[in-house]
């Protein structure tokens, strides 16, 4: 009986699920993004990362000796690298749809 009353009440209510991403103050720790122009190549992010998701590689993206690449499939989204990066080169984006068949899609610089 209790359930029936509740069910009838719910008939006249608004839908419960709403599109969250439309809300202004929505905060989500999604995929990491690296602003390579700010990076100084200090490799602190590599050292603080608990899941070894960041590796410093030599490439020709910048003039730096080494710059970080992030393997998002290894990342646990703790945010330590974002907290400790001295130049605020790393940041979280709102994208959290991490689906792909290919491992290489997760690795980005």
């Amino acid at each position: 009986m209790e359930l029936l009353t509740e069910a009838i009440k719910n008939l006249f209510k608004r839908p419960f699920t709403e599109e969250k991403s439309k809300e202004k103050d929505w905060f989500i720790r999604g995929k990491l993004i690296l602003d390579i122009s700010k990076c100084t190549g200090c490799s602190l992010c590599e050292k603080v990362c608990p899941s070894k998701a960041i590796t410093m590689v030599e490439d020709n993206r910048t003039k730096l000796k080494k710059s970080p690449i992030i393997d998002v499939s290894e990342c646990i989204f703790c945010g330590l690298c974002v907290d400790y990066c001295p130049t605020k080169a790393l940041a979280f984006t709102k994208s959290c749809a991490l689906v792909s068949y290919e491992k290489k899609d997760f690795v980005k610089g």
């Binding site: 209790e2 419960f16 103050d25 929505w26 905060f27 720790r29 603080v48 608990p50 646990i76 330590l80």
Partner: protein
């Protein structure tokens, strides 16, 4: 007399656990519990990572009481270093714990209803839980592993609009908990499946050292929050105690605790002090030598951490005792004398979390060692069970 293995993979259990039941007709006469199927070696991992990194690994121990684990660990580290955490941070931390208790209790109510077969109620509780998760997501950035707690307080500050939303949520939960209490006390189908099922008398509960809502449902008024850590030493609240000790009493305790949590949350946002929210710490700072313990009341009961430091950046030893480990023996005990059909309800009744529980592993190096193929292992398993 027959012997029936229940689990490790069984539709009634959401996580792997094995009960070896002895049956007399439909009645369970003896039950033995076997754990350890999801042991992940996180304690060992904690020794390999720096103590700052482990803050964010500790919350991965349990998907439901993630911030209890994180908070308990951080509280222990703060005791080791001897700092006084920021007051605003502590209040936000307590708020996270209480929000977590709400979502955990709602989740559990839903799971219990699902085990009984009242799927409509399962939908309602999980729908309400979604509201709590939305707030937690805004607080920490993730639905489950919110990482809202850090050394010296909390990670993110509360905005005014979030505070308003939290107050609205508390009112909503207060209203809903009335509905749940009414349902638990009056619904005929629910009463038929839970009243007098899985009864754990007070004396038995004391003997088996159960913790948390299971103990409180049996009339033992224990609650670690009353020891006054974090903001609980100021926040006014009552410990909910019921006498019967059956699954129904357990459900009632948790429904009433929803109310208690909502009131604590309202008190916290009203009395939120101003100031800093955490203490900054260098990425590779060392811990002073020493050992300590830390306890918090997780949604399922007392959570216990033992930390030992040898003065380096890593901890030397981390020992975790989760509430389910303390409660699981009570399931094996209360199963005796019940119908086989009631086993899932009784097992769900303690709000088990196997993922957290599987902390201990004993390796017997002396016995015979043998490498088996999959088919051999299956044959061996069948023979093992046939033997009884």
């Amino acid at each position: 007399m027959s012997s029936v293995p229940l689990g490790p993979l069984h539709p009634a259990f959401k996580e792997p656990i094995n009960f070896k039941l002895k049956l007399e007709g439909e009645f369970v006469t003896d039950a033995e519990v076997r754990i350890g199927y999801t042991h992940r070696g996180i304690e060992k991992l904690g020794e390999k990572k720096t103590w700052i990194q482990f803050i964010f690994i500790s919350e991965k121990i349990c998907g439901i009481c993630s911030s209890s684990h994180q908070g308990c660990y951080v509280q222990g580290v703060e005791r080791l270093t001897g700092i006084v955490p920021e007051k605003r941070g502590i209040y936000i931390r307590t708020l996270t714990w209480e929000l977590e208790r709400m979502h955990s209790h709602l989740l559990w109510l839903g799971v219990l209803m699902h085990e009984i077969g009242i799927e409509t109620m399962f939908m309602y509780t999980w729908r309400d839980r979604e509201r709590v998760l939305d707030i937690l997501e805004k607080l920490g950035g993730r639905r489950v592993a919110y990482s809202a707690i850090t050394y010296g307080g909390a990670r993110r500050d509360l905005s005014d609009s979030l505070i308003q939303q939290i107050i609205r949520l508390s009112d909503f939960i207060l209203e809903r908990s009335k509905f749940y209490e009414n349902f638990i006390l009056n619904d005929k189908r629910f009463l038929a499946r839970t009243k007098g099922i899985g009864t754990l008398a007070k004396a038995e509960a004391e003997e088996l050292s159960v913790v948390g809502p299971v103990a409180r449902a049996s009339g033992i008024p224990i609650d670690v929050r009353k020891t006054g850590y974090a903001a609980y030493y100021e926040a006014p609240f009552e410990v909910v105690v019921e006498k019967e000790g059956d699954v129904n009493a357990g459900a009632l305790v948790r429904a009433k605790e929803l109310e208690v949590s909502a009131n604590i949350i309202k008190w916290i946002v009203k009395n939120l002090p101003q100031g800093k929210i955490n203490v900054e710490v260098a990425p590779f700072s060392k811990l002073p030598e020493g050992e300590t313990i830390s306890r918090v009341e997780a949604p399922r009961g007392e959570l216990f951490y033992y930390l030992k430091s040898n003065g380096s950046t890593n901890l030397e030893r981390i020992k975790i005792r989760t509430p389910t480990l303390a409660n699981i023996q009570a399931v094996a005990h209360t199963l005796k004398g019940h119908y086989l059909a009631d086993v899932p309800v009784i097992a769900a009744g303690i709000d088990p979390c196997m993922g957290c529980m599987d902390r201990v592993v004993t390796l017997n190096e002396k016995g015979k060692k043998k490498v088996m193929t999959e088919t051999e292992l299956i044959d061996y398993g069948i023979k093992w069970y046939e033997k009884g």
